[in-house]
Symmetry: C2
Subunit: 371 residues, 2 copies
Amino acid sequence: MESLDYKQSGVDYAKIDPLKVLAQRAAADTARNLAQHGFREVAASRGESAYVVDCGDFYLASITECLGTKALVADAMRALPGNSDGRTYYDQIAQDTLAMAINDIITVGATPISVHAYWAAGGSDWFADEARARDLVEGWKRACDLCGVSWGGGETPALAGVVEPGRIDLAASCVGIVRPKSRLTLGEKLAAGDAIVLLESSGIHANGISLARKLAERLPDGYATRLDNGTLFGDALLAPTLLYSPVTEALAATGIVPHYCVNITGHGWRKLMRHSVAFTYRINALPTAPPVLQFIQRHAALDDREAYGTLNMGAGFALFVAAADAERTVQIARSAGASALIAGRVEAGSKRIVIEPLQLTFSGDDLHVRA
Amino acid sequence: MESLDYKQSGVDYAKIDPLKVLAQRAAADTARNLAQHGFREVAASRGESAYVVDCGDFYLASITECLGTKALVADAMRALPGNSDGRTYYDQIAQDTLAMAINDIITVGATPISVHAYWAAGGSDWFADEARARDLVEGWKRACDLCGVSWGGGETPALAGVVEPGRIDLAASCVGIVRPKSRLTLGEKLAAGDAIVLLESSGIHANGISLARKLAERLPDGYATRLDNGTLFGDALLAPTLLYSPVTEALAATGIVPHYCVNITGHGWRKLMRHSVAFTYRINALPTAPPVLQFIQRHAALDDREAYGTLNMGAGFALFVAAADAERTVQIARSAGASALIAGRVEAGSKRIVIEPLQLTFSGDDLHVRA
């Protein structure tokens, strides 16, 4: 079978990137507006996963994040003839959406404080489906409680003509506070010798979904195809994204300040090279890839370069910590409910990631996430 | 011609409201999560236009707002044969989107600090249209500069299968700070005797667009129909929403703290009754309705009740101030570039708005925007 790459699966970053560059430059130029309010931005946060403003006694972090197309998988699974108990999966989709914002804002050292929901449907009818609406609300609330954030409000527009009929565009915005200010983690302390601790993922999370959807179209039984462990492919895809803020808050409570954090989303393991300074990231231990990702790799005929360059392959979040803190970081993460392992170390050297168990290297040229 | 009401135009609030009530209850229950961070919410902000958290020295306000379907009007105008200079209108659409968030967050007394853009397109191709992309970026930046906010970042996902091909779902989130805390305006000081100062609108702004689009379908020349003043209907619709934060900041600078503020969006003038306490709002002077709203009222055959109950009819924002501050409020607004007038006063009495020049009364039952 011909292999599926991400461009084939429908997202062409070459078409989006010029606008992103324009927008990033224009946005950077607006930073001067803060002076009139007595604030200043933390310029190093531009290009990172959340925007940070220095408010004197603390830093204010903010973010808006999109779910992407994972809700389409929920819609397809709900419509399967075998879904006799009428599961909507939107409780899980709610957690995915919130995780996109929470797992990003915590990378800068922020405690998430409040969130807003953005639920834009293709028409008023979307909201009239009681079971689905209840699941979406309950899942969202449960995720808020898990992360200790207050759900401040949101928007529930009906956008016929903009959003497809029967579909919903889901996003979340989040505000956080970095306090004490020493918790700020924009990578200035990242150094050779640091340990790379990986927090394990629950599955595909919410990135690589276009690829998974394309694969489902190719499989004779689609989402109803069974993995080796008996789980339906669609069910496995819908395992909700893990929320990592309990881990970062537990670390802060014990005084461990990571030198850098990366939320592993699009671009898979290449994201480990996100920081602007050149380092070599040497990996010598791998988490076990969740069965659903092994399934995708096999059936989409992805080699390791494609799989680890696109999917999280078992690593949902990376903490770069002082080597002396590594063991304790793993223990604290486990106490907070997350599986974790010391996967490697940061070394002086050219910007690249060397995944030794796979004899695989990505160079800095393989990742372009900054303007 | 049969009159067009808002439900006919495609948005059925009866289908959305049950979910909103569920969500509002669940959201309110998450407020307790703030205690673990040493914060507490300002409960009175729930049901108001922005969410407010007490952070000790200041209040933190946040919001996420959707543009709605106004971009569809821009798309239609751009495609008109008469658009020989290839205007995209997305510079104006950008201002509309930002205004939805800015004009809401300032109602609680917040200074807008930073914004995030949410631009979710129906596919990567949307972003490859250079003229449109440049207009969207430039208009967004100009609006940020006008409001003195820093553009912190945003999302530009390509969501084929969720967003319609060739379309874009636009939203904005905003974070603001209420400082000094005495600037908080949630209506506790609203009292009989207060003056109602209305800031004039530029046109339809971004509410009532579904109705306007339905009307365009009915007109033989659609958006190319000329108003009495010669302007094309579509061009007039696309006058960008005014940004009112320069007014609220100028008022704060001179020490005037409004007792309450209302951003007049959906539900038109009925929004003036937004505050939870019962008052009678007596209007004795009207702003001139912009030509495009007069045109809609006439051609959609709306009586005054329908027109003022749905559209802004010339009033974009309402400031409720102490009677002694009314004249000065108007002068300061004008100095900040906004037309303004003292339109009426707040009186003790049942919840209703009496628009005397039109012999029109809306009762409290005519507005349901709270759970």
